[in-house]
């Protein structure tokens, strides 16, 4: 959606260029942006409306929906009154909040560390990023095998803990897996942010007698704020959409019992696995609305305010 909003400005600039007639510019724009727009409309926007349409039908996917399958808001009330759905929503919320608390400070600390000149820095940077590069499917299957009751983790620790099946433990297992998997991404993002901060600022601080930690706290961290906010946004969106690791590690049945079900997992189970595609569409629309709400609220109240303060040049009144 952001990509679409960025299209107009070049148009305006191009159109004013002397020597380029209007229809040529339009043709150029059409040719260049056309394919992207068509693909976006066909595979992103159209399916949203198709899902909306089918969400009002008791539809199993055999051929088009028939008028007698129309159930009005039936699929929505079924979902919104289903306690397993709300459990999943709760898990998503938990993952979102705890994910931010667990990964944020850790990522900033490691990024500060890796921003120092030290031996083996590039090696550590690569290693930190490795879990993020491994595909979810491979990591998921490997972790599933290691975390079984008779798996490598219990053998290593000499314990008998149900890392995956005990509902009191499983959610924390998931949080640790997520931290392991996505911390690298957060660190790389923070590191890039730190390196965008001019060195003169910390040097000036040092000259004025600030200690290392004072420099980090009073100079680096405030300037890193925009990066942290962007990372938090990505992390929140990722938490809302979490599906693959849960589905691969816990499978299609037991995530709810282990207390790690997510909204997308619930949708796959109640929509695809049970063959109730109309109901699945309704769940998809509800999840879409929840995610959209969270994203818009965050944009409006956290990100926007931030871009104004963060710009070093005189703030141009955006839009």
């Amino acid at each position: 959606m952001g990509g679409g909003a960025k299209v107009p400005p070049p148009t305006a600039r191009r159109a004013h260029k002397p020597g380029t007639s209007g229809w040529r510019a339009n043709l150029e724009i059409g040719l260049l942006s056309g394919p992207a727009i068509i693909i976006f409309l066909t595979f992103v926007i159209a399916p949203v409306f198709v899902a909306l349409y089918y969400s009002f039908y008791n539809w199993q996917g055999w051929g088009p929906a028939r008028p007698d399958q129309y159930v009005g808001w039936g699929n929505y009330t079924w979902t919104l009154t289903n306690k397993f759905f709300w459990q999943a929503v709760g898990h998503n919320g938990f993952i979102m909040v705890v994910g931010l608390i667990m990964q944020g400070p850790l990522a900033v600390l490691v990024a500060l560390l890796l921003n120092q000149k030290m031996r083996g820095r590039s090696l550590i940077r690569v290693l930190v990023f490795v879990p993020y590069v491994i595909s979810e499917a491979i990591a998921g299957i490997g972790l599933r095998l290691m975390l079984r009751d008779d798996g490598a983790m219990n053998a290593l620790l000499g314990t008998k803990i149900s890392w995956l099946a005990n509902p009191k433990i499983a959610i924390w297992t998931l949080m640790c897996i997520l931290a392991w998997k996505y911390l690298g991404f957060a660190i790389i993002l923070m590191l890039a942010g730190l390196q965008g901060i001019p060195e003169e600022l910390s040097e000036a601080g040092a000259v004025d007698g600030a200690t290392y930690w004072q420099i980090q706290w009073h100079i680096m961290l405030p300037l890193l704020k925009p990066t942290i906010k962007i990372w938090a946004f990505l992390s929140i969106i990722g938490s809302m959409q979490l599906f693959d690791l849960v589905y691969i590690i816990w499978g299609q049945y037991i995530a709810g019992i282990a207390g790690v079900s997510t909204m997308a997992w619930f949708m796959a189970g109640e929509g695809r696995l049970s063959g109730e595609l109309g109901r699945g569409s309704a769940i998809a629309i509800i999840v879409f609305m929840i995610s959209l709400f969270v994203a818009v609220v965050y944009q409006r109240f956290v990100l926007n305010r931030d871009t104004e303060g963060a710009l070093t040049e005189p703030a141009k009144k955006a839009r």
Binding site: N26, W62, W250, G251, Y253
Partner: protein
């Protein structure tokens, strides 16, 4: 102006996509020319997969005009993929068929070919009643390959080491006692792949078969059970009591059924667990997971024990049928001819050997040599009535039933809670 261009472009693209979709239809129905068919089966390992390669090659040699492309789909993925393919009008020409309500749904959607008139008369007379599992309202929609009764597949060596005799396990109490002895001998008594849900649910089917009268159990397979009949609650309670005796492997909730040495079948194959409740495909599945990929030499069979006070016949069995169907778009008679071909006595003998299973064609029954499979065949002969797995019989709703049983085994709900979940699922 600009908006209109976009509209035109989208319309053009949509038309192009639509046309591309259309151009794939209309296969030659009266095929004398070369024909290519896709074939989905779920024998993902070892001998079973080799059997199908052999069968396809032999069929192609006899019919040089026909080419069959095999695609192997992992069993747990099969139903979902098949449904997606059918919705996309992209059904494989020949596909694995479980029967029951699942087949009825496919037939109702018009995705399965009626091959009543194309069945070879010899095959028809040899299969006799066997064809009924793929017949709806007198029309034949597939050909069965095997008959698979369920019971316990156990390691005789591990039983001997623990001082347990399978012949002495007559009641559930005997089974609990045997599990205790096996546990103190240092192995997991019973392997259970509850992560896949259906292996756990089979325990409920068995308890239901024992607790409920024949009429009530049959009503369940017809999708119209009277869940207020106390036998269903009794079945769930007996299962909960049985679980409380802790006979299952540690971490059964996160154990899968068939994939790898850590799966429930793999635990039996590697002598980590003494037995598993499973259908007769298990001989082949366990065989593919042993270190040398051969059948487990000490694997034996005993039927599900009796429960006290049960209203069902205490020697009745649960069973399933594997089979294959043709899609509504498959080229005929090529597809039906392939089904006729593998249902022949000679091919069924090879099938029974490769899968270590009971062939659907009784004329190939003497190919069953595996000792465990012989015991299973014997038990099946004594079974007064045999019912199809409830989940298969119920179609997609069966998944919800299975989930409720897993929740019970996990201790998330009690028997009454599980019954309420099942009621909601079947309503």
């Amino acid at each position: 102006m600009k908006a209109r261009n976009v509209v035109i472009a989208i319309t053009a693209a949509a038309l192009a996509i639509g046309l591309a979709g259309c151009s794939k239809t209309s296969p030659s129905t009266s095929s004398t020319g070369p024909v290519t068919m896709t074939f989905w089966h779920n024998a993902s390992q070892g001998k079973g997969s080799a059997y199908w390669e052999q069968a396809v090659k032999a069929f192609q040699d006899a019919n040089p005009n026909i080419k069959i492309n095999i695609e192997i789909v992992q069993n747990e993925d099969l139903d979902g993929k098949l449904q997606a393919a059918m919705q996309a009008n992209n059904t494989p020409d020949i596909f694995f068929q479980r029967g029951g309500q699942k087949m009825a749904d496919q037939v109702a959607a018009g995705k399965v070919a009626d091959i009543t008139s194309l069945i070879d008369p010899t095959v028809k007379s040899q299969l006799a009643g066997g064809l009924s599992v793929t017949t709806i309202n007198g029309k034949v929609y597939g050909v069965p390959t095997s008959m698979m009764p369920e019971g316990f597949w156990y390691s005789e060596d591990l039983f001997n080491a623990a001082g347990v005799k399978a012949a002495d396990i007559k009641t559930i109490d005997d089974l609990v006692a045997a599990a205790g002895k096996l546990k103190s001998s240092g192995v997991a008594p019973i392997a259970l792949g509850a992560q896949d849900a259906w292996p756990a649910a089979h325990w409920f089917y068995q308890f239901g078969l024992r607790q409920c009268s024949k009429a009530e159990a049959e009503a369940m397979t017809a999708g119209k059970p009277n869940l207020d009949d106390p036998c269903w609650l009794a079945a769930l309670k007996s299962l909960a009591d049985f679980r409380d005796a802790k006979p299952f492997n540690d971490g059964f909730l996160t154990t899968v059924a068939q994939q790898g040495a850590g799966s429930s079948a793999g635990m039996v194959a590697n002598h980590k667990a003494a037995m598993e409740l499973m259908g007769a495909w298990n001989v082949g599945v366990i065989g593919s997971l042993t270190p040398d990929k051969n059948n487990l030499p000490d694997l034996r069979f005993f039927p599900f024990p009796s429960v006290s006070g049960g209203k069902g016949d205490q020697s009745a069995m649960m069973a399933g049928n594997d089979g294959y169907s043709c899609s509504n778009k498959a080229p005929q008679p090529a597809c039906a001819n392939f089904l006729n071909f593998f249902a022949s006595t000679a091919q069924q003998k090879l099938y029974a050997e490769a899968f270590s299973t009971i062939p659907a064609n009784p004329t190939a029954a003497d190919a069953v040599v595996d000792p465990a499979m012989k015991q299973a065949t014997e038990a099946l002969g004594k079974s007064p009535y045999t019912l199809l797995w409830f989940d298969t019989a119920l179609g997609q709703k069966g998944n919800e039933l299975n989930k409720a049983v897993v929740a019970l085994l996990a201790g998330q709900v009690d028997a009454a809670g599980a019954l309420a979940q099942i009621k909601a699922a079947l309503a």
